[in-house]
């Protein structure tokens, strides 16, 4: 590619990518009373706080935001811990048929969510878990485990087995070996897995709209969808402010932990 063509191409792409982001910000700032039914291309005011608080309280994003924060943090942590234990069992410990266990747990990532939905709905209705925070948390943990397991397992295979052998000779128990050797040495890997699963749970829509209904249980993406359906009544500035709110946590994590994210992406691509 010639130099000029190359730079023009990149500049064009950057512009194409920036325009929607720009429109998002500009229109989320427009006071909803000043919105005239067509997108604004220039700043019309700085009413972001008003729009955001309308979305937060009246449209119910606030409740869902707190619920989603709970789901993402708790489920991400639990899933990473459970996955790390399973990886420890499959990689380090003398479990029979490690390949079977690997595929059993990893298979969860291969299938589309749709294949689980109808039975999960039935199961949840029978167990009184439908539309409860506990129910969503259980399924998010289960859903987050396979990929976290995959990431952690890949990293654990690179740890020298001599470490474990030495600890065993010193008389350490499996629990001690796991908590004192593997967990501290794999902090970065566990962090990557947590970031990925936090993001995945935060971004979930399908499980949320299938297994919950009330505002304080529904995850935040489901709440954003509800708000979007009320397009005419809420008005675009409020909806876009809502979109900005729900994007804030993952955007922040991405900007702060860009290196870890990229490591995770490359690890998952291997």
């Amino acid at each position: 590619m010639g130099r000029v063509v190359r730079h023009l191409f990149v500049a064009g792409c950057v512009a194409l990518w920036l325009v929607p982001l720009y429109l998002l910000v500009v229109n989320a700032l427009t006071p909803s009373t000043a919105y005239e039914g067509r997108p604004d291309w220039t700043f019309q005011g700085f009413a972001f706080v008003d729009n955001a608080s309308t979305a937060w309280t009246e449209a119910g994003i606030g409740d869902s935001f707190q619920a989603s924060l709970l789901y993402s943090v708790v489920c991400g942590t639990v899933a990473v811990l459970v996955a790390a234990m399973a990886a420890f069992a499959v990689v380090v410990l003398p479990i029979p048929r490690p390949a079977f266990w690997f595929w059993l747990i990893y298979s969860g990532t291969l299938f589309p969510l749709q294949i689980f939905l109808a039975p999960l709905f039935g199961l949840y209705a029978d167990a009184n878990l439908y539309d409860t925070r506990l129910g969503l948390m259980l399924v998010y943990v289960a859903w987050a485990i396979p990929f976290a397991f995959f990431l952690i397992r890949n990293q654990m295979t690179t740890m020298p087995p001599e470490l474990t052998e030495a600890a065993l000779i010193d008389g350490a128990s499996f629990g001690r070996i796991f908590w004192r050797i593997h967990v501290p040495l794999m902090r970065a890997g566990l962090g990557v897995a947590f970031l990925f699963q936090f993001t995945a749970v935060w971004n979930d829509l399908l499980l949320g709209i299938t297994l919950s209904r009330s505002a304080d249980v529904q995850p935040v993406m489901a709440a954003l969808t509800t708000l979007n359906n009320a397009y005419s009544s809420a008005g675009p500035p409020v909806i876009l402010a809502g979109a900005l709110i729900v994007s804030a946590p993952t955007l922040l994590l991405f900007l702060v932990f860009r290196g870890l994210f990229l490591r995770g992406i490359t690890a998952s691509a291997r």
Partner: protein, 326 residues
């Protein structure tokens, strides 16, 4: 996937040899603890795997088989009766299912052409340029805001008096202004474009990492042989990016088959179910129309397509045959 059950003594000696980095997802674990050697034998490891197994088994594996079983029933959520393969024969005659398959195919094709090709081009164009990093950051930003937020934003831009039409009219392309989301096939195409906006960044990042891994010697040797520009790209860069390309294409196919959020928020599969893909059709049949058994049958079809295509693709692409043979 071989070698994971290698007996421990062999693995222990193998671990002494210098370890090569491999690309296969399943690597031979170098077992530190010999089975049965001490601490309660092989069963001592089970408690460590059991929590993961319990979660995945009860909430994913069991529902999977239950779903397969349920697809042989006529089930409206209240009563169900065994109907054998009726649900599957119904699929063949259902025009909605046909449209849905066609849309799914458009998604797969579209997400292969646009995000993969654009990702490759942008990665190559920004490689080792001064503002390349900034450009890549801008393009990967939509990846960090969720699909749902992206969909809301594009909904705002694609409505009839939205930003896209506004722009087209302002530059005099009035005929180009469309009711983007209200007619097939442009609603599906518009959705694919919106999805491209979000998904390209991650491909740019992956290709950029692949480009950085190309050994300098290879490039220099090719330069000495007089390769440059297009020939360099085609004969040196592209073959070296093969491993990354396999992954990017594989992910694009699987993700486009599973695509739900974007379509659900922008069109709900409508109008009159014209923009549904298999992922949407299943949801609508099972949870809006209460055709649970029929929905399960669609879910199984989708699953078979997803698993079969990723398996066939990886099997075909992963062995280290040349790019040309692939």
């Amino acid at each position: 996937m071989t070698g994971t059950t290698t007996p421990a003594p062999a693995a222990a000696t193998a671990a002494k040899a210098p370890r090569a980095r491999r690309r296969v997802p399943v690597r031979t674990p170098h077992r530190a603890v010999r089975p049965g050697a001490r601490r309660g034998g092989p069963l001592a490891a089970l408690p460590w795997a059991l929590p993961a197994f319990a979660f995945v088994g009860v909430l994913l594996v069991y529902p999977f088989f239950r779903s397969v079983y349920g697809s042989f029933f006529e089930d409206n959520g209240f009563t169900s009766s065994y109907t054998g393969i009726d649900n599957y024969t119904r699929l063949a005659d259902d025009p909605i299912f046909g449209r849905s398959l066609l849309n799914t195919l458009m998604w797969v094709t579209g997400t292969l052409l646009l995000p993969v090709l654009l990702g490759l081009l942008i990665a190559v164009a920004t490689h080792r340029t001064r503002f390349g990093g900034v450009a890549r950051l801008v393009i990967v930003l939509p990846f960090a805001i969720s699909t749902a937020a992206t969909a809301v934003l594009w909904n705002f831009m694609l409505t009839s008096d939205g930003a896209v039409n506004q722009f087209l009219r302002s530059v005099g392309l009035d005929s180009g202004a469309q009711t983007w989301l209200l007619e097939w096939p442009q609603n599906t195409l518009a959705l694919i474009v919106a999805s491209t906006w979000q998904a390209t960044g991650i491909n740019v990042v992956l290709f950029a990492i692949g480009l950085r891994a190309i050994p300098r010697d290879t490039v220099e040797a090719a330069q000495l042989d007089g390769a440059s520009g297009w020939r360099m790209f085609w004969y040196i860069t592209l073959p070296q990016l093969r491993a990354v390309t396999v992954v990017v294409v594989g992910m694009a196919v699987v993700n486009s088959l599973k695509a739900f959020d974007m379509i659900w928020i922008l069109t709900k599969g409508g109008p009159s179910r014209s923009s549904e893909t298999l992922a949407l059709t299943m949801y609508r049949e099972a949870f809006r129309l209460f055709h649970v058994g029929y929905g399960s049958a669609i879910a199984l079809v989708l699953t078979v397509i997803v698993v079969a295509s990723s398996w066939a693709y990886l099997r075909h692409q992963m062995p280290d045959t040349g790019w040309a043979k692939a």
